[in-house]
Structures are given as C-alpha cells and as structure tokens.
C-alpha cells in the first residue's frame, strides 16, 4: 500500500511485518524514531508475541539481542555512531557466534568532535567485524532491505547491518509502498536456528577456541560472506518476483554502458549523483554511476565488470581513512586489480555537509578533464584550514581545534547549504 511517511516509520512498519520476537532499544539520534515506532506497536499490541526491552546502553542492547538470538528467536535492534562503537565488542561477538541479528544503522558521524549528522564513519568502523553490510539509497529500499536482511541473516547464520543515512533518509518523508503481511510471510519463513539454548538439548555456546582451530572458524565466516555474494542477488531477485520492484542486490549501475567516467557511491547520495549524471549526459558527457548496495561482502567481480571499460572512476565517499584517504576506494581499487584507469577519491558529506548538484557537477567536470587530485575533500574551506595551520605553527597553547574553527566560520544557523 502506498504511503507518505517518515523513513524511520517505514522501516519500523517493515520490521514489524517480519515478525520479530525480541526488540531492544537504546536511544541515539538519528535512529530513535525507528525503535520508538516499534515500541508503540508492541505496547498497542499491534505487534504481537514480541518483547520490547528498554536497555541501559547500546552495549546492553546488542547483548540482549545476542541472548535472545542464541535462545532461538528473531531479534532486532538499531543504533548509530557512538552507540555502535559502544557495542563494538558485542558486534564482533555476534558475528563470531553466527547469530542472525538484524540491526539498522542510522548512519551518523563519529566524534570527536561530536556530530549528530550523517556520514558513514560509523558503519565503516565495523566493516571487518563479520557482519553483512547493506546500504539503502531510498526509504523504499531501506524498508525492503530489512525484509531481505532477516532472510539473508537466517539462511547464512550471520548478522546483518542495514545502513540508512541519518536524517537524510531516516527523517525524510517520502512515498513508499508498504508490503502486506502475506507478502512478507511468503518471503520470510519462521526462524529456524542452527543453534539454540534449549534445556531439551543442551549445548555450550561461546567456548574458547585455541590456535588449533581459530583459523578454521574464521575461515568459515569468511566463506559465509563469499556465499553471500551469490545469495544476495538471489534474494533480491526473489524479492523482485514477490514484491514487484528492484531492491537490494550487490550493485546497481546507472548509465554505465558507454561511460568514460563512472562515479561510485553508497547510500542516498546516489540520487543526487544520478540527477547530475542525467544533466551532464544531456550536455554530451559520457558519464554514469554505480551504487554499491552490499559493502560487505564487497562485490569485487560485479564492480570490475561495471568499471573495467571506463577511463576513470570517481569514488565518492562519506568516510575517511585518516591519513590515507578513501575506505571504499580501497575496495574499488582491489576490484580493478590489473586494470589501468584513473582512480579518484572524493571525501564528501562528512558530518552531514550537504553534497550539492553544483559541487558534484564541478567535481565531475574536473574528473572528465583528469584535473582532480588523487584525494579531494569536496567543498573544503581552504581558508579556514590554512588559518588554523598557521595559528598552530605560531602558538603552542592553541586551545581546542574544533572551537577555534567554529569561531572562524561564524554562526552556523545562518547557513543554508
């Protein structure tokens, strides 16, 4: 059924349709509306046979989810930013134990400096923990991915993070098509655990594993992600057959067939990128874009196929490998192993800075002329940076950096973009 609703609420409704049995919640901007929505549904008894637990920290949230999942029930939680870091030990634990927990990440920057706005630094910090990571372009895809995520997680016995851009998607009202309970039930069968804490058949879960077997256990989780490379497109195809639309999958290409310049990005910025691609195409540019839907497992082969004939690739990242440049770029480079083309990393949108059509147009035009640096910080205020570096070279007691920069920029409220 078509609805105009907030992204978080759409996701909450979709999760409710997946018949979760335990949901744990700890508030953090910008995911809070999701768990609040679910909490309401449980309290109003719209979502039945579901326990909703208000926990005292994110670490507790994922811990409760681990206990519930190990006891054999479908489990869900959500977090962002600092909260994801606070539960980091449990994130690795859940993956190591092979528990099919689904968790939404309302992507938000990690501090310091504290920042509540969107970028991908949070989910990127956990990219190697063993969770599958899916990124949504739109709120429709965000809700669809959660349905696919439970299916994927339970088939593989591997936890799945569904990443949606904080504020940009979570707090955006847009049109979505909400599936029916029957459609979801047909796609997502009841959870059948591979392991379960049950007095009828006792097992010990979580024992220490020594040098004799640790590598093998790790290899098996690596193998799981490799299997996911096949399973994700299969489940997306099945989703399309059942629900009638494209959602999910490893990558999505846009006008790349004869493209000389291809832009690669994750999440909602792809919408703006596609608008710019259309405008530039109309002016004669041979440009296209690729949206990476699955960041873990990383789709090396599909990316290689999509990019190999281009002259240059621009990787547009909402994250930063401090001191190095791009994170997504590393994966893209791996996929292009042996193929020679120009690769550019663009760090954009950090801490919620708007990525505008105008900036992207200038950027892509520079790329077309190969007039880009290896690593570019989009819309960097060079004056502010120079001033701060100069100040630091003159004085020892410079005070907190962030505050100094804010003073230079002036009041924030008067800015639009």
């Amino acid at each position: 059924m078509l609805k105009q609703t907030e992204g978080s609420h759409a996701v909450a409704e979709a999760i409710a349709l997946c018949r979760p049995q335990v949901i744990c919640a700890y508030p953090i901007t910008p995911q809070t509306h999701i768990v609040e929505g679910l909490g309401e549904m449980v309290k109003a008894e719209e979502l039945k046979k579901c326990e909703f637990i208000n926990v005292e920290s994110e670490f507790a949230a994922l811990s409760v989810a681990i206990g519930a999942s190990a006891a054999g029930v479908r489990t869900y939680t959500a977090t962002s930013s600092q909260g994801l870091l606070f539960m980091a030990e449990a994130v690795y634990n859940a993956a190591g134990l092979g528990l099919p927990i689904v968790m939404t990440i309302g992507n938000r920057a990690i501090g310091a400096p504290i920042n509540i706005w969107n970028d991908h630094s949070d989910s990127m910090s956990m990219r190697d923990a063993g969770w599958i990571q899916l990124y949504a372009e739109t709120n429709q895809e965000a809700l669809d991915l959660h349905i696919q995520a439970f299916r994927l997680a339970e088939e593989l016995s591997c936890p799945v993070m569904v990443c949606m851009d904080g504020f940009i998607l979570t707090h955006a009202y847009e049109r979505v098509d909400m599936p029916t309970q029957q459609q979801v039930d047909a796609y997502l069968p009841p959870y059948s655990p591979r392991q379960i804490l049950d007095p009828a058949d006792p097992v010990s879960i979580g024992a220490m594993v020594g040098p004799e077997a640790f590598t093998e256990v790790r290899y098996l989780s690596h193998h799981k992600q490799l299997r996911a490379l096949d399973l994700i497109p299969e489940l997306a195809a099945e989703f399309k057959a059942q629900f009638g639309r494209d959602s999910g999958g490893l990558i999505r290409t846009y006008r790349t067939d004869d493209a000389e310049t291809i832009v690669v990005a994750l999440g909602s910025v792809n919408g703006t990128v596609q608008e710019v691609v259309d405008e530039m195409r109309a002016r004669g540019s041979r440009i296209g874009s690729v949206s990476i839907g699955s960041f873990r497992p990383f789709p090396l082969d599909p990316l290689r196929e999509a990019l190999k004939a281009a002259k240059r690739v621009v990787v547009l990242e909402k994250c930063l490998a401090v001191g190095l440049g791009g994170i997504v770029s590393d994966g893209v480079r791996k996929s292009l192993s042996g193929i020679v083309l120009n690769g550019y990393t663009v760090i954009a949108g950090l801490g919620g800075r708007a990525i505008t059509r105008a900036s992207l147009t200038r950027l892509f035009e520079d790329a077309e002329r190969d007039a880009l640096e290896q690593v570019t910080f989009l819309d960097l205020n060079a004056d502010v940076v120079s001033y701060e570096l100069e100040r630091e070279s003159q004085t020892r007691r410079t005070g907190p950096t962030a505050e100094a920069i804010l003073r230079r920029i002036g009041t924030v409220a008067s800015n639009i973009g």
């Binding site: 335990v22 579901c50 326990e51 637990i53 005292e56 006891a71 489990t75 030990e89 010990s204 024992a207």
Partner: protein
C-alpha cells in the same frame, strides 16, 4: 519441600557432610541426591580447592532441581567460564552460553525475553560471573537488569579479585589484601582502605524481589537460597563467597574452612533481603577474631610477622564488628 518439618541440630549433620542418613529424604541436600544433575560435570580444569567450582556446582544443581531441569545459564568471562570449557570440551550438561566479560546480565535478559516470546514460562535463566565481571565491568548491565526487574537470577562468585588474569584487584577486593595491582609495598601495603563496593547492598537499593549472600561453607543454606530464588520471578541476586587458594595464597584443603571463618568473624555476613529490606540473617555461633581468618592467607602475610600491623588488623576487626552489629549476627 522448602519448610523444615524436622529440626536439624548442628551436631547431627555437621557441615562436612553433603547428605545425611539421619535426615528425612526431602531435607537432604541436592548434592546428596544420586539423581543430582551434575550440571557442572567433573573433568573441568579448576584448581585444586577452587571455591568457585564448588559454589557453581552446588548452585546450578539446586536451581536445576528447583526448575525441573528447565534452566539456561549465561556465563561471563572469567575463571568459571575458562575452566569449565577448555577447548574442545565442555563440562556443562545444561544449555550454556559464554557472553562477554561485562554483559552476562544483559545476555541473560535477552535469553529470558526469548522464553517469554516463545511462550515458555517454565524455562528459567541464570546469569553468573566472578566479582570482576559483576562489580566492575559488568556493573552497568547488572544494574540495568535489576532496574527492569528482568526474570534472571544473577549469581556472583566472589573470590575478591580478577583471578583468571593473574590476581588483580577488583572493587570486591577487601582492604589490605595483596594483589598484583595492590602489592604489599610502601606505607600502605595491599588494597586501600575506604574503597570497594558492596553489591548485595546495591542490589537491595534496586528493591529487587530477592537478594542473598551465601557461602561454600554452608551447603544447605546455599541450596535453600537458590531454591527460594527460583521460586520467585523477577530480578534476583545471590552473592557467594568462594575462596581462591591460588589467589589468596591459602592451602587448597582450607577452602571451606576459610569460607566458614569469613562468616564466623563477621567479615562475610550471611543474610537475605526481599524488596530491599533485610528479612533474615544467619547468626554466628562462635565469633572468631579476624586474625584466625587472615593468618591462613598469604595475601595478608604482610600484616603479620615480626611486627604485626596491629592498626590495620584492628581496622579489619572493626569492619567485621560493624557487620555483626548491622545484621545482628550475635544473638
């Protein structure tokens, strides 16, 4: 089952016996029962004389009997978890999960929630951990579980330090005790006076349905408290005193004796509390001076010798005397 229909005199049973032919069958300890579940089976790798292994076996077998063997255990990282599951073996005969160090209470809350979601109210959950995993790193999750009144019995096996990592000080380490991070050096040797957390009292402050302290020196009391706890729904906490021969520098054969001395000095009061109020305490039969207890442990050796540290010993005695007063342990 829970009420005594036969008065037991101490001289009839002693405390060295696990079961006793003089008692009615239903008053014998769970450990005396041939059909006890041995939830923590033999073959684990605990040290000789480990109080925690003893306490865990007593407690979990009692809980199994009380729940008709419908029990799931969640275990924090620590000695118990490590010695009970030496790869590739496990000595647990019940469903058991090792959580992380600081989240046994939260994982247990999740397991309990799952049972409700599955419509299985008969399956009960115990979370267990050492003092480190309970009073320090696990404190946040513990308080959260208490505050929500989740249906979990949390058992803390208190050997008064981080033993598995090499005897480091925790907030349960008593004053003056030597540990690797509170060495017996300098003008204030051993652990500092005026620090530490009393988690049973903190549990009581959460007004949870049941809090109790117990000791491996009193098997029946321990079993009774566990059984009583399993008859209650909601958050419950039992704090069990478990000597550690290795960490305390005591003789392995002295474990139960030390546990009894800790009770009889007043240093470890045995009591129960319901809904935040103390409802009973176990009287001390013959009060013993703390030196009798302290001198058996090398971790207090620096208090003795040619020039005993009378000041510190007196402070420890004062703590014991205060407990006796607070809980009315001398009748």
């Amino acid at each position: 089952m829970h009420e005594q229909d036969q008065q037991i005199k101490f001289y009839q049973t002693g405390t060295f016996t696990v079961g006793n032919r003089l008692l009615a069958e239903n008053q014998r300890s769970v450990q005396a029962d041939m059909h006890r579940t041995n939830s923590l089976n033999s073959g684990h790798r605990a040290c000789q004389g480990c109080g925690e292994a003893l306490g865990a076996r007593y407690a979990i077998d009692a809980a199994m009997q009380a729940t008709g063997n419908q029990l799931i255990a969640v275990n924090a990282t620590g000695c118990l978890e490590v010695f009970s599951t030496p790869y590739p073996e496990t000595s647990w005969q019940i469903p058991w999960i090792h959580s992380l160090f600081g989240n046994a209470a939260a994982v247990a809350s999740g397991v309990a929630a799952a049972q409700r979601a599955l419509g299985r109210p008969d399956v009960r959950v115990i979370a267990q951990g050492g003092d480190g995993g309970t009073t320090d790193i696990g404190f946040g999750c513990l308080s959260g579980m208490f505050e929500r009144n989740d249906d979990v019995l949390y058992i803390c096996y208190d050997n008064e330090a981080y033993m598995n990592t090499g005897v480091q000080r925790s907030s349960a380490t008593p004053p003056a005790a030597r540990t690797a991070t509170t060495p017996a050096l300098g003008p204030a040797p051993g652990n500092v006076f005026g620090t530490g957390k009393n988690v049973p009292r903190i549990a009581m402050a959460h007004r949870i349905p049941y809090v109790a302290t117990a000791s491996v020196s009193n098997l029946r009391d321990l079993e009774r408290k566990v059984r009583h706890a399993m008859g209650i729904h909601g958050a419950r906490y039992i704090h069990i005193f478990v000597p550690c021969p290795l960490g305390w520098g005591s003789a392995p054969a002295d474990t139960i004796k030390l546990a009894r001395l800790a009770v009889e000095t007043g240093l470890f009061p045995l009591f129960e509390a319901h809904d935040g109020q103390v409802t009973s305490s176990t009287p001390i039969r013959h009060k013993v001076p703390v030196t009798e207890y302290l001198k058996l442990q090398k971790r207090y050796a620096h208090l003795f010798g040619k020039e005993p540290d009378l000041g510190r010993i007196a402070q420890i005695q004062g703590m014991a005397d205060r407990n006796v007063d607070d809980f009315g342990l001398l009748q």
